[in-house]
């Protein structure tokens, strides 16, 4: 069980208390206690099928724990209705391995859709949008449709969409799963930059090399799901 007291800050954006999740009779994990402070950087690793993606979904309310409780920004998932959850998600940027784009909209429209959903000021947002697309290196691909992008470009576009609302938390599920090492490094650099801006980052990955590379750039806590428990990974990484 991680020793959360070691970690910085008292401004906890995500808290899990005795949280567990089961698909029917099959428990993925249980009794998880975790606090993610604002501005912290976490990796979550473990073998395939142990529930890493499920854990991530609990962190943005896509799933509710079958036991215990998850708290986002001080509110329990059990007490949040669908509108509350939508409001919380606007403060959480999620990057999925499969990116999840609307394939009939261009890259720029997909990224900008987050602003439209939040009914942001269009003129101001449009400037931010261009700037952000340039930041992830996709200015030349802004009008392309998602199926026309390479794996790395899709991941960068997904990252741009995740951060355009300047969320407090970035959750990334295997963001480097479909890209080469060089692109993994670029994505990692972007995530580290965001963390330095004060964002809380949780990256789910089975890529230990990426974790090692990150540890040289940022103070990151590495968690591992093993034997249905969340553990703090040690020196083996």
């Amino acid at each position: 069980m991680p020793d959360s007291n070691r970690w910085q800050g008292t401004n906890r954006v995500i808290q899990l208390r005795e949280a567990g999740y089961s698909y029917g009779e099959r428990a993925l994990f249980r009794g998880v206690d975790l606090e993610m402070a604002s501005g912290s950087f976490h990796f979550l690793t473990g073998p395939s099928g142990v529930g890493k993606s499920t854990f991530l979904k609990l962190c943005y309310g896509d799933l509710r724990p079958t036991e215990g409780d998850v708290t986002l920004f001080g509110s329990s998932l059990h007490d949040m209705d669908r509108d509350d959850l939508a409001a919380a998600r606007r403060k959480i940027g999620v990057v999925h391995q499969d990116c999840q784009f609307l394939d009939h909209l261009s890259v720029e429209e997909n990224i900008g859709l987050t602003l439209a959903v939040a009914e942001q000021d269009q003129l101001k947002s449009q400037a931010n949008l261009k700037e952000l697309i340039a930041w992830v290196g996709l200015a030349h691909r802004a009008n392309a449709l998602p199926p026309e992008l390479s794996g790395g470009e899709r991941q960068r576009a997904a990252l741009a969409r995740a951060v355009i609302m300047s969320p407090d938390i970035i959750l990334a599920d295997e963001p480097t799963g479909n890209v080469d090492w060089e692109m993994s490094q670029k994505l990692l650099t972007l995530l580290v930059e965001l963390n330095r801006m004060g964002k809380t980052v949780l990256v789910v990955t089975h890529d230990l090399q990426l974790i090692r590379a990150a540890k040289s750039q940022v103070q990151a806590r590495v968690l591992r799901i093993s034997d249905r428990q969340l553990q703090l990974a040690g020196a083996d990484l």
């Binding site: 669908r82 509108d83 409001a87 009939h104 909209l105 900008g112 859709l113 959903v117 269009q122 969409r161």
Partner: protein
């Protein structure tokens, strides 16, 4: 989100949010065709209702006119039987006024058939008495018996008795027209609900993505509602215009043939079908809104 805010959002261009739902798919064609076909049928149902209404009104008006008593008696008895008939009529409950038609009036009645110069005094023309009923009406069978006793040559031409069922029938035909419109509205709602459900099921990925980026159920529902409402409105407008054109091309007639060929609208009634697209849009709005909220509730 209130109904009015949702309704307002249908007609507000929302930039990217307009394009959230993919524009293609068979549900688009289905909604457009269904609302168009239903609007076309609704125009005819409305025309039937209007025509039946006019018919019922016309027959109703004629019911309020005179009932005629005809004196067909030998020439020397005509005067006596006329007076006796008038006496009987004046003492019959349910009769408001009794008036014997003069020669000029009878001549005018015959003019269409024999011309204006018919020598009415030289012909054995029956004497005619105009009778106006009260609202309660009179007992025709009792009156016939009394007339038979007092003036055997008097014949009560009680045409109201066969017109009344026709008026009732016309009224029911009018009601049938409105019932048809209600059924068409219900069928439209059912079909658009099916199409909306199919569209929602086909766009689960869109819903997932929108939820991922923080869209509320209201936002997601509005994207679908707007799409379906505008499609239904457009389809119904086309169907209504084609329906009105078809009505306009029906043969026009007057007089006795009006019942068979008078299906259509008159004067200001031509504006009435224009409400059909509005109703179709409203039906689509509420049907899609309910379907979207149901689906989104189930997916949470």
């Amino acid at each position: 989100m209130s109904v009015f805010a949702d309704l307002f959002s249908v007609f507000r261009t929302g930039g990217q949010s307009d394009r959230v739902v993919p524009p293609t798919g068979y549900t688009a064609t289905l909604t457009l065709f269904t609302s168009g076909a239903m609007a076309f049928l609704a125009v005819f149902a409305l025309a039937l209702s209007m025509a039946s209404g006019r018919l019922a009104d016309r027959w109703g008006e004629e019911l309020a006119k005179s009932v005629t008593v005809r004196i067909s008696a030998p020439l020397e008895q005509v005067e006596r039987q006329t007076k006796a008939t008038v006496r009987v009529l004046e003492t019959t409950a349910g009769i408001a006024t009794v008036r014997v038609l003069n020669t000029a009036e009878q001549q005018a009645l015959l003019a269409p058939w024999f011309g204006p110069d018919v020598p009415i005094d030289d012909l054995p023309i029956p004497k005619l008495i105009e009778v106006i009923e009260t609202d309660e009406g009179f007992d025709a069978a009792g009156l016939r018996l009394r007339l038979q006793a007092e003036a055997p040559g008097a014949v009560l031409d009680d045409h109201t008795r066969w017109r009344k069922p026709l008026t009732v029938a016309a009224g029911r035909l009018r009601a049938l027209g409105w019932v048809s419109i209600a059924i068409i509205g219900g069928a439209t709602a059912a079909m658009i609900t099916l199409a909306a459900n199919a569209a929602l099921a086909a766009n689960l990925q869109v819903i997932r993505v929108l939820r991922l980026i923080g869209a509320t159920d209201g936002y997601i529902a509005r994207a679908f509602v707007r799409r379906f409402t505008l499609r239904a409105l457009g389809g119904a407008l086309i169907g209504t215009i084609i329906g009105m054109g078809a009505i306009l091309m029906l043969p026009q007639a007057t007089g006795d043939r009006i019942f068979l060929t008078g299906l259509g609208f008159q004067q200001a009634q031509w504006f009435m079908p224009l409400i059909i697209p509005v109703l179709a849009g409203a039906v689509a709005f509420f049907a899609t809104r309910a379907a979207a909220r149901r689906t989104l509730g189930r997916l949470s």
